[in-house]
């Protein structure tokens, strides 16, 4: 469905922003189609999240009484606001959905905008294709506009996905359009940020790191604004806060739209200004092209791979560590209030008593299970990148066995997962203890270890994909983890029977420390992981190396 679904919005976008000149149209189309899998996955996720939350609310909080209790308890809890943001109206389904879907959705939309812009601008330039385009009958300004048109087209698809989910769930068309717009503003602002970092950074990787850092700062500012009294003004300082302040379904403030609009315009103007002045193929930040040799960590392919992944590993470590610390610190903030039966039912789906610090920690550690599983995927994708880039061909022409190479790569993934799990456990414990919470270190180490069977299972499945369908590695690996998680998180709200929910590994994760460790499930996951890893080794040893 990709190509046909894709061409309509891009055609519209092209017609709107650039004269229908052949070259610009071709560039816009190329850039749009390039990101179609990502765009359609995000749109589908939006549609699903919206649909499920609309239905889940009616189902969980049928009466006003239920809703009032919910507002007083769960809805005012800091650790909940951390994820979903500031709620404005939880007594009606629209306000609830704007809060639940809007908060998450804004972050996803921001990440989408950033990825799309960096992919279309910096990655293309990195690969030398931008130079090729500009050598043709198109100037920089027109090429830049063409790429932006493609991103605009993609954002329109995201908007449509979200809107369809909301309306399909039963919300009013007008309000849904406004909420979807509020979310998609983030795609625009962060596409602007992506465009600027693409001009500043000399490589795709550095551009993404800079952009993700900006998104992290925006997120932290929003969290502080939403959870600390007296810091509400900070919401104006972060694009994610603007999305909240558009207040969909809760006294809309459409004038706030001027903020993301102005910010996007300013960012794009800045990016264009830099793009028109600098040399093609470079960034404002000069990459250091010369240095004295550093011969450490070059003794084996595994050591060298670890060296190459160092930056990414540190990023994961800092991200997971900070998040764990914050969750530890706020784990004591939940007020003990009598909850209505229906709210209990919703919370019981997560299987934890979230009214105690260990309950909250158990609940949030599910997100570390997710994060560490995703980390495992990134490492398999990095291995695939070494193959696609044909460096692996050079390596395997040396006296080096395929199994040894792959085992080294998988060991980095497994070792990294263990370090991340330990870090999350230690910092969450430290954070909780700093607030005097009654959480023991062994319990938290157990919560960390509890992340590993699932992460290793996904590592095994990603490796198997890499061995069997190398070109599909990244799509299938990330897709499996995301689907499994979304299925577990939202599937329950759809009233899906338990056995069907059980296809997601996340369904079998005990919420340690609030719940006991599910030993049997963990053992099964580890056994499956071992099987998948062994299969990956055997298949990879037999297949042809495969390029891009």
């Amino acid at each position: 469905m990709g190509a046909s679904a894709a061409s309509a919005p891009v055609a519209a976008a092209v017609a709107a922003t650039a004269p229908a000149r052949g070259a610009a149209g071709a560039i816009a189309r190329r850039a749009f189609l390039d990101g179609r899998v990502r765009t359609l996955s995000f749109a589908a996720l939006f549609a699903f999240m919206a649909y499920v939350n609309v239905n889940g609310y009616e189902h969980s909080f049928p009466t006003l009484q239920d809703r009032l209790s919910f507002v007083r308890s769960f809805g005012s809890d800091a650790s909940v606001k951390l994820f979903y943001g500031q709620p404005y109206d939880l007594l009606h389904v629209g306000g609830y959905v704007a809060w639940r879907v809007g908060g998450f959705g804004a972050i996803f939309a921001a990440a989408w905008g950033l990825l799309a812009a960096v992919r279309a601008l910096r990655a293309e330039e990195d690969a030398g294709r931008w130079e090729l385009l500009l050598a043709g009958a198109i100037d920089r300004r027109r090429a830049f506009v063409a790429v932006l048109a493609a991103i605009g087209g993609g954002a329109a698809v995201l908007w449509a996905g979200l809107w369809l989910g909301l309306v399909g769930g039963g919300l009013a068309a007008g309000g849904s359009a406004y909420l979807a717009l509020a979310v998609v503003t983030q795609a625009f602002v962060f596409a602007g940020i992506g465009a600027v970092v693409s001009q500043v950074a000399p490589t795709r990787r550095i551009a993404l790191e800079l952009g993700m850092a900006v998104l992290a700062v925006a997120f932290v500012l929003r969290v502080v604004a939403d959870t600390s009294s007296g810091a509400e003004w900070l919401r104006w300082a972060t694009p994610l806060g603007w999305a909240e302040d558009l207040r969909a379904f809760a006294g809309p403030q459409p004038l706030v739209l001027l903020l993301p609009l102005a910010a996007t315009g300013a960012l794009l103007a800045l990016a264009a200004r830099i793009a028109l002045r600098r040399d093609v193929g470079s960034g404002l930040l000069a990459s250091r092209d010369r240095r004295a040799p550093r011969l450490g960590s070059l003794g084996s392919p595994t050591a060298q791979a670890l060296r190459g992944e160092r930056g990414s590993l540190i990023g994961w470590l800092v991200g997971v560590g900070l998040f764990a610390l914050v969750i530890g610190v706020i784990s004591t903030t939940f007020q003990t209030v009598r909850l209505p039966e229906s709210v209990r039912r919703e919370l019981a789906r997560f299987g934890a008593n979230v009214l105690t610090p260990s309950g909250i920690l158990g609940f949030y550690f599910l997100f570390f299970v997710l994060a560490i599983s995703l980390f495992a995927c990134t490492q398999v994708v990095a291995a695939r990148r070494e193959e696609a880039g044909q460096q692996l061909e050079t390596l395997l022409a040396l006296p080096l066995g395929r199994r040894r190479w792959l085992a080294g790569r998988l060991a980095i993934a497994g070792g990294g997962a263990v370090v991340l799990a330990l870090t999350a456990a230690l910092l969450a414990w430290a954070g909780a203890r700093s607030q005097g919470a009654d959480v023991s270190l062994p319990d938290m180490l157990g919560a960390g270890a509890n992340c590993l069977p699932t992460a290793l299972l996904f590592l095994g499945l990603s490796a198997l994909t890499f061995a069997a369908w190398p070109r599909a590695t990244s799509g299938i690996a990330y897709g499996l983890v995301s689907l499994a998680f979304v299925w577990q998180l939202f599937g329950a709200a759809l009233g899906v029977p338990a056995w069907l929910l059980g296809v997601s590994p996340f369904h079998h994760v005990g919420l340690v420390p609030a719940q006991p460790f599910k030993g049997l499930a963990a053992a099964i996951m580890l056994a499956l992981a071992a099987l998948a890893l062994a299969g990956a080794m055997a298949l990879f040893a037999r297949r042809d190396l495969t390029g891009e």
């Binding site: 250091r288 240095r291 070059l298 084996s300 044909q390 061909e393 050079t394 395997l396 022409a397 040396l398």
Partner: protein, 298 residues
């Protein structure tokens, strides 16, 4: 024992037959030129020899070690220069040399320094910042500095300037003097002509001709150009000779058989100049491709 030996080596990618029952044998110490246009199957052959791809049928071995099943042992004797110089962008040239040498487990640092000088490689520059030709030089230095018994080079001079081409030939001669075997895949005929002992010509996945340059030449036409005093006379019909006008008082004769009848016929005529030359490799090569309207398979 042959440095490279292949029997009935065949590779299919889906419906495409990329290599069709290749029999190949390269002796130790030989410089073997592997010729063919793009898509003829040169890189496929190399990937099979290195065990990077798996043969659909047939068998290949390096120094008696199976190319697929024993690849790690075989690779202790091999250095490889890939057709596309993709290396690790974040490593400098010096780091790349060090890394590859350590994974290999052997190299000759003194000779490497000679090569760095000869190919004018900047060891402190990151691969990311190198042009294609310069990355190719990094690969060449790493391969030759390994002093491996067998060098498998896939179009190693693409992207090199003429000065570096000279350096490359010099380095190949040094390797040959040391007794190293070289398998040189190329479509640059002058280069193959200059350095190779034996040549194989590949077309559409099949080896269509093989031998020393001398042998290949004997099978092809000699060119004899004759200039006469006055207008060109009529030659008697001769078997195996094609005659073409080459100006007002000159003829070009393409001679496939013996030269003697031609000389006998010319002896009667007012010849003022006569040149005879062997066919160039280019002519041999084109001869093989023109036969089928130049179309090349897989």
């Amino acid at each position: 024992m042959d440095a490279i030996h292949a029997e009935g080596l065949t590779k299919r990618y889906g419906a495409t037959l990329a290599l069709d029952r290749l029999d190949l044998s390269v002796q130790a110490g030989e410089v073997y030129g592997y010729l063919g246009p793009n898509g003829a199957g040169k890189t496929t052959t190399i990937r099979l020899l290195l065990g990077l791809h798996r043969a659909t049928a047939g068998q290949a071995s390096l120094f008696g070690l199976d190319a697929w099943g024993d690849s790690v042992a075989a690779h202790r004797h091999v250095a490889y220069v890939a057709g596309e110089p993709f290396l690790w962008p974040s490593l400098t040239s010096a780091e790349t040399f060090d890394f590859l040498a350590r994974v290999r487990g052997s190299d000759d640092p003194a000779y490497r320094d000679v090569l760095i000088e000869r190919f004018r490689v900047d060891p402190d520059k990151k691969v990311r910042a190198l042009s294609k030709g310069n990355r190719q030089k990094v690969q060449l230095v790493a391969a030759f500095a390994s002093r491996a018994d067998l060098l498998i080079l896939d179009e190693p001079t693409s992207g090199l300037d003429p000065l570096m081409e000279v350096a490359f030939r010099e380095t190949v001669h040094e390797a040959k003097e040391r007794g190293q075997t070289i398998f040189l895949s190329s479509h640059i005929l002058s280069e193959v002509e200059a350095v190779c002992d034996r040549v194989g010509i590949l077309r559409g996945g099949r080896l269509v001709d093989e031998g020393t340059l001398q042998q290949l030449r004997h099978l092809s036409a000699h060119t004899v150009e004759v200039t006469f005093d006055g207008p060109t006379p009529q030659l008697p019909p001769l078997a195996g000779v094609a005659v073409a006008e080459a100006g007002e008082s000159a003829l070009r004769l393409e001679v496939t058989g013996a030269l003697r009848p031609v000389l006998a016929a010319l002896a009667e005529l007012p010849v003022v100049a006569l040149t005879s030359r062997e066919p160039s490799l280019e002519e041999i090569f084109l001869h093989h491709y023109d036969a089928t309207d130049g179309r090349v398979g897989g």
